[in-house]
Structure formats: C-alpha cells, structure tokens
Amino acid sequence: MYTEKVMDHFMNPRNMGELENASGVGTVGNAKCGDIMRIFLDIDENQVIQDVKFKTFGCGAAVATSSMATELIKGKTVEEALKMTNKAVCEALDGLPPVKVHCSLLAEEAVHAALWDYAKKNNLEFEGLKEPVADIHEHDHGEEEEE
C-alpha cells in the first residue's frame, strides 16, 4: 500500500531524534487519533535552518512524512520552510494512500508549530505564519472504513 519512498523513510527515518536547546519546538496531533509529531529546529542568526529533528508517534506514513518534511526544510531559510506544503511532502514521497494524506498535513503543521515557537521566542513575525491549532483532526481522514 505504501510507495518505496514511504517505506524507505519509514524504515530509515532521516533526522529522527531530539535537539538540545532548540531554537523552536512544535508538537501537533493528538494521541486520540493515533498520531503526534514533534519537530525541533536549530535556526542560526541568518534565519537558516541549520539542523532539524523529529519524533513521531504514529503509523508508517506519519513517520515517513515527518522524515521527508525534515529533509525538505533542512538548510532552508525560515521563509522557504514556511512555503513547504503538505502537497510537496506527498509528492516527494511519490504519493500517499488517500487515508494517509492527513499525515502529510500533520507534518506541515508540525513544521509551522516549530517555526511559530521560534518566532515567538525571538519576537519575529513572518508572513503566513499563524499560531498553530492544537488539533488538526477536525477534518476527516478520507475514505470510509473498509470491511
């Protein structure tokens, strides 16, 4: 059901772990729905993401989208990272099953939440960066349950 890229990022996740003294940390999702993502960012004085790590509680797709999202923003500026969409994460993974698309949304939200934390700590404002919602599960997960 998963593409080779999803499987690769699940089996060999990139940038998994924690950052001590991170410039920004964001956690999104909830345990009730079975996925939580946490992103740690290390951002330098030029607003470039020098390092990024993630931790995820969730399914194969949740882990793979977190891993891919960290790859997509590493070395980018804050403004570039803000432009990373869930669609870009999906495409970089060669697609996700419809019921798993919400995982990529969660990855986008996790990055935004970490950037928000960084902005708040540094009294910065960025266009398009809003306070993260605690729970993005208000939308449905796609297809109806299969029997």
Binding site: M16, G34, K55, C59, D140, H141
Partner: protein, 393 residues
C-alpha cells in the same frame, strides 16, 4: 528464521490437507447438484447430510437444525434480520453487546434504521459482558439477545450458560456468534439454551465461503436468501458441496483431536503471554488472563502505534494484526479495546497474535525477541515516550 511465522489465525487459517483431500472429488467426479436425481447427485446429497450430522453433533444439536450458509457473516445477518422480522409483532427490541463483530453491529445499525431499537450492553475491563446490565436491559418487547461466544480481538469468553438462562427465563431468543469459539471451547446448545448459533469454516482449518446457522426447531424466523427449496426452504441456492464437505471434515478433525489441540494452544498461549509481559516493559495484556480463547493473545505496547508495529513485524517475517485506527482506515481504534476502557493512545498500540497448535515455542521466542527490538525502536521515535521518560526523571 527465514520462514513466515503466521500468527493471525483469528483472521483465517490454513486448510488442513486432510480437509482438502476430502473436498477435491466434489469439484470434479462428484460434481452433481444434490437436488438432482442421478447417482452422482445422490452421493453429493449424502455427503452434505453427513457433514450436517458431524457439525450438529459438535454442538449437541439435531442435524435438522443446521443450515449451511456462505459464512459467518451471512449467518449473523440471517439470524438477526429474519428473527427481527418474524417477531416484530411481539416487539422490536434487540439486545447485543458493545464488543460484537461488525457482522452483528452493522446489522444492528441496519435494523435501527428499519425501526428496531437496540441496546448495547457493556463489558468489564477484561471484555466480559456485564450480566446485571444485560438482565436490566430485558424488556417486555425484547425479542432477541445476540452475544458472541468469544471475542475475536481479545478472546474473552462470554458466560453463555448464564445468558441462555436469562433469555429462557424471560422468553427471549438467544443467538450467539460463535465464529471464533466453535471447536475451541465446549458448546452445548441444549445445556446453554442457545436458540441460534453462527459458525464459519475457514476459522477452523476448513475452506472459506462456508458457514452454518444453527436454528433451534420451532423458531419462526424465515428465509434470508430466497429462491429454491434447498435447506428445507430456509436457505436457497445450490449447496456449496465441496465447502460443506470441507467444513464437515474440519469439524470432525477438530473434535477428534480436541483435547490435544486445546492443551497445545493453551500452553503456547500462556508461554507467550508470560514471556511478553516479562520481557517488554509498559506492556498490557488485553482480555481476561484465563477466560480467553485458547489461541488468543492481545497486547498493548504503550507509546507506540500499531500499524508501524505491524510493518516492522512483517519485515521480520511475522504476521499479526492490530486494533489501531490506521489499520482499519477509520479515525478510531478498535471498538473492542475502547469498550474495555483503554485510552485511545493505548488502544492504538495494540497487537493481536493468534496461534495454532502448529506454532512452536521457538517461534514464540523469536517473536518476543524481535518485538523487543521493534517496540524499543518505535518508542525511541515516540514523543509520548520522550515525555514519559522525562516525567520519570
């Protein structure tokens, strides 16, 4: 280990080679329609009746009370819908439990749309029905109680005899979905006052696409599948002769080898449970420690999610199943795990391993060894585990 370790016997089982041998002639030389008159048809009719006898004997029913269906789901649909229709003049209230299989729950939802009222009785933390709650739910317009014999996810055994007594006392019909329990626990429909019972072939080393509904004599429920006069006008459609022969043989073997099989499965199950709880921290056994199916184990590993677990298990050559939302494609984890009171995040991290008498202790050792690594790996990835460890410090 380079071979596959199959631990999903509650999902389906391998056809026993002796069952397959018995079935084969009924695809080719003995292909006759049992409703016809010539000799190959008579032979087909005889074997259908022989199978019926074997199956009836296994639950202490009369052969005339056994109807062949296409499987457990059809039997459940038939039992509920036809009874509801036949007894609507008495009342339109049905009682079932919160942990039934979807074959029952979704049929109940259907009946609710048709104007019936359904009470879903809860279970305790071990997944065993609350008898007092069941008793209190019975009303003058209650026509049917449908409670499974054993749960498919957590293996919890239900007090059939007590439910049967309650049903009899209140003159309510009692149906049980015994798809998982059939030939795994003793079932006596007379002693337990069971009026209807569903069972399936493929869970007991028989073929897929065959099942039975036992319906006690005198129950007015009519046909569910309409057409020809097969199965004493109760279930139309040409008999699935190879399937019926296969199910009959599977039951015959299961009953003949009953003691050895159960003893082997129980010993292996207990070995796996003890080892798992001992070797993997923050692990919970779901379901009752003793009152459970001989082949069922179900664990929750805290801080991790079931689908990720299954993928890594598959990479290690192990087939299991999980009650996580991600494996069902729905938002919620298993309704059974929620019914026993597990918080969502713990329900998401569940793993069901269901055994057969052919599995070995070496396989169980390998599974626990692999799981240790896999669970630890996923926990290291989990923000929930990170938070938990920090709180401990």
């Amino acid at each position: 280990m380079d071979k596959l370790i199959y631990l999903d016997h509650a999902a389906t089982t391998k056809v026993d080679p002796r069952v397959l041998q018995e079935m084969l002639p009924y695809f080719t030389e003995n292909f006759g329609n049992p409703s016809a008159f010539y000799s190959i048809a008579r032979d087909a009719k005889n074997v259908v009746e022989e199978s019926r006898e074997v199956i009836a004997k296994a639950i202490n029913a009369d052969p005339a009370e056994i109807y062949f269906t296409a499987g457990g789901t059809e039997s459940d649909n038939w039992a509920l819908i036809s009874t509801a229709e036949a007894y609507a003049s008495k009342g339109k209230h049905i009682i079932t439990s919160t942990i039934e299989h979807h074959a029952i729950l979704h049929t109940c939802k259907y009946l609710e749309k048709k104007g019936y009222e359904v009470t879903y009785v809860g279970v305790d933390e071990d997944g065993i029905i609350k008898l007092e709650e069941l008793k209190a739910a019975i009303r003058p317009d209650t026509i049917l109680i449908s409670i499974m014999a054993a749960n498919n996810e957590i293996g919890s055994l239900q007090p059939l005899k007590e439910i049967g007594e309650l049903a009899k006392e209140h003159k309510v019909l009692f149906h049980t979905d015994a798809v998982q329990a059939f030939t795994q626990i003793p079932i006596d429909v007379k002693e337990m006052n069971i009026d209807m019972l569903s069972a399936s072939g493929h869970k007991i080393n028989g073929p897929k696409g065959i099942g039975i509904l036992y319906m006690k004599k005198g129950i007015r429920a009519g046909a569910f599948i309409h057409g020809g006069a097969q199965e004493r006008r109760k279930r139309a459609g040409t008999n699935n002769v190879p399937g019926i022969v296969g199910m009959g043989k599977a039951v015959e073997i299961a009953m003949a080898e009953y003691q050895e099989r159960i003893a082997a499965k129980v010993a292996l199950r207990d070995y796996l449970i003890e080892k798992m709880l001992k070797e993997i921290p923050y692990t919970k056994l779901n379901g009752h420690r003793e009152l459970r199916l001989p082949n069922n184990t179900n664990f929750s590993f805290r801080f991790i999610e079931g689908e990720a677990l299954l993928i890594l298990l598959e990479q290690a050559g192990i087939c299991g199943s999980s009650g996580s939302a991600c494996t069902s494609g729905s938002l919620d984890p298993s309704h059974v795990l929620l019914a026993i009171g597990l918080p969502h995040e713990i329900a998401h991290g569940s793993l069901r391993l269901t055994l057969s008498e052919e599995n070995t202790r070496e396989e169980m050792d390998y599974v626990v060894e692999k799981l240790k690594t896999i669970v630890q790996r996923l926990r290291e990835m989990s923000p929930l585990y990170e938070d938990f460890i920090k709180e401990q410090q």
